[in-house]
């Protein structure tokens, strides 16, 4: 039976595929740990930034800082979409893209125009394919993003906000909730929200002045938020890939089991047939 050889070939090929997906799963697991550690390492810095911010009576300074000012009429919104450069990570990018499309649809419904700035080849290609116009795409950020990457993106978009091209900057990215869960989120970056208007009585001496500190602090916070989004995406990508590759490995295992069973059955059928032929032949001789 030619079928036997065919089956045996498929079983070998499947075994190789399984080995590849298994390796990818292990690589993703180790990278996931490293990127997640990195994500956690940024927390003290971020916490301290907000702690310093809380020492300044923000509401008082809104007038002086355009980055804090809500525009009366929002005509155009920039949406920053953070995706990955590589695939094989399940629905990770698809869920971010879906969220971004929802945000865009909502804006269209409200009669507001928007522009899409995409990080990651996957998002840029998918959105373009769906017929969206991609205003800018950044594909040179690796799965090990640096703060410099974030700063570059942040500064370009901040510029567009300040010169009035856009009235808002939003970001859509995937939140690394846990190893097993990544959730797409949409957040407002600019204008930066001023929380609470209660009077802050600070015991701190502000050097040289609250204004000068804010002038540096506000961009620092915005850069850091974008940096955090990049890291969340990097960690989530690895986690999602791990799960996707584990499923692929399990699936390969399952198919291999079924094929092996068919192979054995075919082999047995062949033997039985041969015996029947021999018995038949011997009988004829008698």
């Amino acid at each position: 039976m030619a079928n036997l050889r065919e089956l045996s070939k498929r079983i070998t090929s499947l075994g190789k595929t399984k080995q590849i997906t298994k390796t990818m799963e292990l690589v993703a697991t180790s990278r996931m740990k490293k990127t997640a550690d990195r994500l956690h390492a940024t927390r003290p810095y971020a916490d301290k930034l907000s702690q310093i911010l809380s020492q300044v009576n923000l509401a008082e300074y809104v007038e002086q800082f355009p980055l804090l000012q809500k525009r009366e009429q929002v005509k155009r919104v920039a949406i920053l979409i953070v995706t990955t450069n590589r695939g094989l990570c399940g629905a990770f990018n698809a869920s971010v893209i879906r969220m971004a499309r929802d945000v865009a649809q909502q804006l269209t419904d409200d009669g507001i125009s928007y522009e899409l700035h995409v990080i990651g080849r996957k998002g840029a290609n998918a959105l373009r394919y769906m017929g969206y116009e991609v205003a800018s795409k950044t594909t040179n950020i690796t799965d090990w993003p640096s703060f410099e990457d974030a700063r570059l993106v942040a500064e370009t978009l901040q510029e567009r906000f300040l010169d009035g091209t856009v009235d808002e900057l939003r970001i859509v990215y995937s939140n690394y909730v846990s190893v097993a869960s990544q959730k797409p989120v949409a957040e407002m970056i600019l204008p930066m929200q001023v929380e609470g208007d209660e009077e802050v009585t600070s015991e701190y001496i502000l050097e040289p002045s609250a204004e000068e500190i804010l002038e540096n602090l506000i961009p620092a916070i915005i850069n850091n938020r974008i940096f955090k989004a990049l890291l969340e995406t990097a960690a989530g990508e690895q986690a999602a890939r791990r799960v996707a590759m584990k499923n692929a490995t399990d699936n390969a295992e399952e198919i291999k089991r079924l094929l092996t069973r068919s192979y054995n059955r075919a082999r047995q059928a062949k033997i039985t047939q041969e015996i029947a032929e021999i018995v038949g032949g011997a009988e004829a001789l008698n």
Partner: protein
Amino acid sequence: MARTLHCEILSPEGSVFAGEATLVVATAIDGEFGLLYNHAPLIAALGKGRLRLELEGGGEKVWRAEGGFLEVSQNKVTILSDKIEEK
């Protein structure tokens, strides 16, 4: 008890340094300033320049920072900078 300041230098990528120092000299926007034990609570915006720590038990460490913030309260100094390099 040793009269030292507990210093921590943080960058967005993580902790750069943590340790005890007897003197901290940093460059603010308008020039250098020094911090000793029992300094009043202060938040400063840092400029481009040196950050020098005189460590407990002698020795010193120097960084070059470009922008950032320094916060001191209750003898704890936290330096935040996204561009800092050891010299």
